[in-house]
Subunit: 171 residues, 2 copies
C-alpha cells in the first residue's frame, strides 16, 4: 500500500515570494531583497499581502519553484499524492490554483486536489509544507520546505528540506 503524501502549493510548488516582490514593486516602486525577509511572516514582510493575494493573476501567474515538476512527478509515481492547498480564505485563488495545477502538473488529477481552509483534517503519512502551523497539527512525517518566513524555525519534529532535489533524496 503506497504511503499518502500531502504536498502544499504556495511556497512548495508555487514561488509566491517572487509574486509578492513583483506585486510590491509595481505598487510601491520598492523591490524587496528576499534575503532581508528571513524570519518574517509573509503578512508582515508585505503589509499589502491580502490585497496582492486577492489580485487577479497572483496565483495563476506564479512561477514554479525550481525542480518542482520533476520532483512531484517522482513522488506521484512512488506515493499516493494529494495536493493540499489553503485557498478558501481567498476565494479568487480557487480557480486560479486549479488552472495553474492543470497547466504545470497535468499528471495531477482532480481527484488529487484538496482546497481547504485548515489542513488539520486531512489524512496522510507524510506532509510537505512551508508553514509550521500546518505541520504542527500533522501526526505523520513532517517535512518543512525552507522559505524565508520559516528560516529561523527550529523544531526537531520537522525534517527540513531546502529544495526539491533534497525531497527526492529524502523520499
Amino acid at each position: 500500500m503506497k504511503k499518502q503524501v500531502l504536498v502544499d502549493m504556495d511556497g512548495v510548488l508555487a514561488d509566491v515570494y517572487s509574486q509578492f516582490i513583483d506585486f510590491e514593486y509595481r505598487k510601491t516602486g520598492v523591490r524587496k531583497n528576499i534575503e532581508s525577509l528571513n524570519g518574517i511572516l509573509e503578512s508582515e514582510a508585505f503589509p499589502l499581502h491580502d490585497e496582492y493575494v486577492n489580485s487577479v493573476g497572483f496565483f495563476r501567474n506564479a512561477p514554479l519553484i525550481a525542480d518542482s515538476v520533476e520532483g512531484l512527478k517522482y513522488l506521484n509515481e512512488k506515493y499516493k499524492v494529494l495536493i493540499v492547498s489553503s485557498a478558501t480564505e481567498f476565494p479568487r485563488s480557487l480557480l486560479e490554483k486549479h488552472e495553474w495545477l492543470q497547466e504545470f502538473f497535468p499528471f495531477i488529477t482532480w481527484q488529487q486536489m484538496i482546497f481547504c481552509g485548515k489542513k488539520d483534517s486531512i489524512k496522510g503519512n507524510i506532509m510537505i509544507d512551508d508553514h509550521p502551523k500546518n505541520l504542527d497539527f500533522f501526526d505523520g512525517r513532517r517535512i518543512l520546505f525552507t522559505q524565508p518566513h520559516n528560516a529561523l524555525v527550529e523544531n526537531e519534529l520537522n525534517e527540513r528540506v531546502n529544495n526539491w532535489k533534497e525531497i527526492i533524496e529524502l523520499l
Copy 2:
C-alpha cells in the same frame, strides 16, 4: 471535545435536482418529474449532466434544501462542522460554491470549507452525504441523505434521513 461532522453540499444543502430539472427544461423543453428518477444516477437521469454543472450559475443559483439553514446552524453549535464538497472535477463550481455558502450560511467560516475531488482522506466522526460512494469509504457514523438517485440503496451501515428535521432529531 466536540465530534467532527462532515456535511456534503450538493443534495444535502443545495437542491441540485431542481437545477438539473430546470436546466433540462430550458435546453430540451421537457420537464422531468422528480418521482420518475428514483434509483437512477444523476448522470444517467440527465444525459447533459456535465454540460449543466459546467454552466455559469448552476451552483451559484441552486435553491436551498428545506430547513438546511436552521439544521446546519443547529449542527454548527453542537459539533465541529466541516463542509466537504466534491468540486475539483468541475472547476467553475469552486468559486460559485464558496459564494453560495457565504450567502446562505454566513456562520460557516472559510476555515470550515473543504473543496476536493474524493472525500476518503477527510477526517471526521460523522458524515452526512447523499452519495453512497462517499459514505462507503468513511470509517465513522454514516448518514445517508435521501435523494432520488439513492432511493433504492440498502446498506445497514448507513442511517438514512429524509430531510433536515430528521437530522436534528438524530444528532
